[in-house]
Every structure is written in C-alpha cells, then in structure tokens.
Symmetry: C2
Subunit: 148 residues, 2 copies
DNA sequence: TTTTTAATTAGGAATAATTCCTAATTAAAT
DNA sequence: ATTTAATTAGGAATTATTCCTAATTAAAAA
C-alpha cells in the first residue's frame, strides 16, 4: 500500500471515530488529523501547529493541545512524553519499541514481537498493566553516516 | 543478603568510584549517596533533599541536582525522566522493566529476561543503541487492594 | 432556512520542576 | 598552613504545557 493511501485510511478512520462519538469536525481538527495521519515521524505539537497554519492561519497553540488531548483520550493517538524535549505524537497506538536518535531527535518504529505480556506481569507481580513504553536511545543511521 | 547490607555495599561502591575519579567527598554528597543506596523506591529529587536536610540542614536544591547529574554522568545512577511527574533516581543501572503505578506513583523493578538485544536492533535497523527505557504503567498491588 | 446551544477556539496568563548563574565556601593536595 | 579548583547555596531564569475566559461556531432542532 502506498504511504499516501495509508495516510488517507488512517485519516478516515479517525474522522469516522470522532463523528460516531459526536465530536464537531472543525477545520482546525481536520487539519490536525490530516497532519498526524501523513506524518510518520512522530511530530511535536509545535510542528503540528506550524504545519496547520499553512491551511488554517489563525489556529492557536491551545487548539492544538486541546485537540491532541482529545485524540489521546479517544485512543486515536499515543503521546510520547519527554521532560527534556518536546512531547511527540503518534498514530500508531500499538505497543512497539521506539528508536530515538539522541542527536537529531528522530523517532522510528521498530517492529518486533511484543517483549512482555500483560498477563505474565500480572501473574508474577500482582501489578495490573494498562500500557507500555519501550524506548531505545542511540544514534540513527543518518547521523551515524554523517559523522564518519 | 540483608537489605541494609546491600545498601552499604552499594554506598561503598559509589564512594570508592568517586574517590578513584578524584571527586571531593563532601558531607552533602555522602548524604545523598547514603539516601540513594538505602531507598529502593526510586526517590524524587525533592524527597532526597528533604531527607538529606535531616543530617545536612543547609543543603540546597542546586546541590542535590548537581550531585545527581554528576552521579548520572558517572553511570552510578539512572535518571528516569517524566514530564508530568517528578523525575526519579535509581541505583539499579541495568536494563530492566519498571512497573509504574499511576495512582500512587510507586515504581518497582520487574526482573525478567532482557526483552530486546542491542545487537539485534543494530543488525536489523542500522540504529546504534546506547540505552533502553522499559516501562509498564498500571495499578500496583497496594492500590488494587485499597480500592476494592 | 433560521435558531439554538454546547462544544470549540484564540489568546494570553499561570505553572513548576529543573537548569542556570554567581559569589562564597571547602576538601584535599602540597 | 596554604592553595585552588571543585563544590555549594540561593535565587533568578527557563519554557513546554496547562489553565482560564470570552468569543465563535458546527451541527442539531425548529
């Protein structure tokens, strides 16, 4: 499947879900959703804002954050939170390992089997798992070749 | 091994390492190290500060952060960074899964096999791994039983 | 089509843990 | 005892995100 087709289907799925739930489909929301669906690079709120202003010039920071919070609540996106860099947003809500480049900030998905099972953790530790966070910090291919 | 013996050995190891590296062993540092070695509950900077003031009343926030940064640089502790709660500090610097309770903030180690190997990631993705972060968010045993 | 209204938006102020800055202090080598 | 580079204390600065409020609007109802 072409990347642009994938983006379209992700976008449609998100819009339909919001319609079902009775959310208003404002131009601002459509724009934010379009950007999230197209951008597989785990964009920052500031990048989404900057991009959205190309088509919706008056969109505000609050609206971007408000919409992202709503999409997160509806489990349509995942927020990856950092304290020393901007948070990032991902339409891939499955449990997967993220490879995070410490030089350029690029985040790429690493597809592999699930490393821990919720059931095992619950049985062995009496802890009730809700969600996971798997990250690997290092240097991405581009940055490795750049500094050779 | 008793927990207090374990703490003593962790403490000694850290002090020796700093001596070797030529760091000054100030009362403030000794106190922070003692607290870190004893506290297996992944304490916050504010908790370390509060505790340290019992024996070193004049110790400042800056000193705690400065010392924690130094210990992290020397790889004697690991800093677990959060954007919506205080960062936490751990003398267990191995790669392991942390179980994080969303209700009380408690963090416990989950000992299990390593879920991903650096070598595999490097071979399969051209990404050079440095360090990992594995977290599971949920509800801990205490909080589960409390709300029944 | 017009009216209604609760949800949404824009803009700016507030937040708060951590970092930054600087002068004073001090551990430890000489 | 002297020296000095490292360390400390205290407070100001930082800054992405959240909070607050009045104005606007998507979409349901009339």
């Amino acid at each position: 499947m072409k990347a642009s087709d994938k983006a379209k289907s992700v976008e449609e799925r998100m819009l339909n879900r919001l319609r079902e739930k009775g959310y208003k489909l404002t131009p601002q929301r459509r724009e934010i959703i379009r950007i999230l669906a197209q951008d597989t690079a785990h964009p920052r709120a500031a990048e989404i804002l900057q991009n959205a202003r190309k088509h919706a010039p008056s969109i505000s920071t609050s609206t971007v954050y408000y919409t992202l919070a709503m999409l997160k609540k509806e489990e349509l996106i995942r927020e990856i939170e950092f304290y020393d860099m901007d948070n990032r947003y991902d339409t891939n809500v499955s449990n997967h390992l993220n490879l995070i480049c410490e030089r350029c900030g690029r985040i790429e998905d690493y597809a592999d089997e699930l490393p821990f099972s919720s059931k095992n953790i619950e049985q062995r530790s009496d802890f009730q798992p809700f969600r996971f966070r798997f990250e690997c910090y290092g240097i991405c291919r581009k940055c490795r070749s750049r500094r050779k």
